[in-house]
Symmetry: C2
Subunit: 308 residues, 2 copies
């Protein structure tokens, strides 16, 4: 089944202990699309500026990603500059230039309307909600958010949470959103806000999947933890979380039926795609994978925690 | 097979968001012994003061732990006071009174000499080495250490590392010992110092097992990650790491033969015992478990990461 994703397509300048790159292709929707494209068809809704050219287009085209929802606006694309010199788990932002993204009004191509899967990447919750409402055929909706929206736009965010089947956020965000330090208690509080499932990403320690209390007669779904592969070298963690989301949701969208086992496999595929993202700068690694390579790493992850 | 453990037996005063306890029974050797006692016979080498009475003795006796190596000295037992008010992952130490522990000279009862398993809990590496040398029949030796010894007693510690089959330390310690930030690189550097296996404990995120490069013709043992159970309430994390070590090494010591699969199960049993330790203050939970309860939780942990 096709996934439509709305979010940022951007340029990133990144410095890590492994080196430096100027103006790589980046943005949450970019990482998500590339990762999900190894599992299913992906359609993007975003806005870019005049600096988005043939080279950037080619990256999406090579992965068969539908770009008809990427609007070209006058001006420059969203630009982010950051570094991870002290701590690879924590980006330090130097510059955020919203540019054309500041006036982003998502426009949904008619050909996207039949998407049954919708991913709302980290953007203004008001826009997330608008896109969700404009796509009533989406039967499974997942989304992301960040500290900025939790802190300063909570009422709008709470409206979006009611619409979500799966919320994917990190440790700090779930604790901030719930106002609770204990992970299990924080997860329970966030699930009470609406999403039926919650994925908490722990960076180099993997991710945990929590489900809302099962409805009467329904089989309770267990909490599940996927490991992250201990990596020999983290070249650039930018986009790892969005790649996780792409692997997770892309795998789910490709299943004929979504069961408890699909969720578990999806958590592992999310971890797999997150680990690949860190191996090279920007989207470099995410552009050149093969499904075979992905499935090999899936097996490696399985071995990593498997008891006979 | 019996395990001999050398380390501290102490009194702890602890404050956590869940409450406060004055002078609970504590110490690394105490937690280790209690946890390991559910798997095999345990013998302790330690020193206590005149404040160690019938009530404390009864805790060891109830678990069938051999106390003939616990020396009674004039003065008070090791005392630690700490709190976890801001961060349950990080103890803040208020008081450390070494008392009789300051002059600890481990004395090994003759009846302990045939122990084939030896655990060197976190004490002065000079003493760890002395005990190891005095127990030549120990065919498998595991140990722990802490930042203080890594920082200020590194030469003595390096001598001990050469003697170890398994070193169990936490994230901060492995990075400090190796002088490397990347976990995999740090693990490799520490394995080059001597231990054939390394367990890195990640607190609420579980633990990772690394093995030194396999010798020629030997089957390579894979890196393995055990999850930690997301706990609804962490009452008191004191002793969780020592309880992990007790579950891990106790399980190994109870196996007729130690295989790659035994190591994997041992990692899970370590996580299981660490999770129990956090559920009540001090050793309260660790005193009253049953093997059935432990095996039930083992299954829960297995389910937590199991793919069909």
């Amino acid at each position: 089944m096709a996934i439509t994703v709305v979010g940022s397509v951007a340029f990133d300048s990144i410095e890590t202990p492994a080196g430096k790159r100027e103006r790589c292709l980046g943005g949450a929707a970019t990482y998500f699309s590339l990762a999900a494209s190894y599992f299913t068809n992906v359609r993007v809704i975003a806005v870019v500026g005049e600096d988005f050219g043939k080279r950037q287009e080619a990256v999406f085209q090579a992965r068969g990603i539908d770009m008809r929802g990427i609007e070209r606006a006058k001006g420059k694309s969203f630009f982010w500059e950051g570094s991870y010199m002290d701590d690879l788990n924590q980006a330090k932002t130097h510059i955020t230039d919203l540019n054309v993204f500041a006036a982003f009004e998502p426009k949904i191509p008619e050909v996207y309307a039949d998407s049954e899967f919708l991913f709302l990447a980290n953007i203004d919750p008001v826009l997330q909600r608008r896109v969700r409402e404009a796509m009533p055929k989406a039967r499974m909706v997942a989304g992301d958010t960040m500290n900025y929206w939790i802190k300063d736009h909570k009422p709008a965010l709470l409206e979006v949470l009611k619409e979500l089947d799966v919320l994917l956020i990190n440790d700090t965000e779930v604790r901030m959103l719930a106002g609770k330090d204990n992970l299990v208690q924080a997860a329970r509080a966030v699930l009470a806000m609406g999403p039926s499932s919650l994925v908490v990403k722990h960076g180099e320690y993997g991710a945990t999947l929590f489900h809302a209390a099962a409805a009467k007669g329904e089989q309770p779904k267990q909490t599940f933890r996927a490991p992250a592969l201990p990596l020999d070298e983290v070249v650039d963690p930018t986009g790892a979380g969005d790649s996780f989301a792409g692997g997770f949701f892309g795998y789910l969208a490709a299943q004929p039926e979504i069961t408890a086992a699909s969720y578990r496999n999806a958590m592992f595929y999310g971890s797999v795609m997150g680990s690949f993202a860190c191996e090279r700068f920007g989207t470099e690694r995410m552009q050149e994978l093969s499904r075979e390579e992905i499935d090999q790493r899936f097996k490696l992850f399985r071995e990593l925690t498997h008891l006979d």
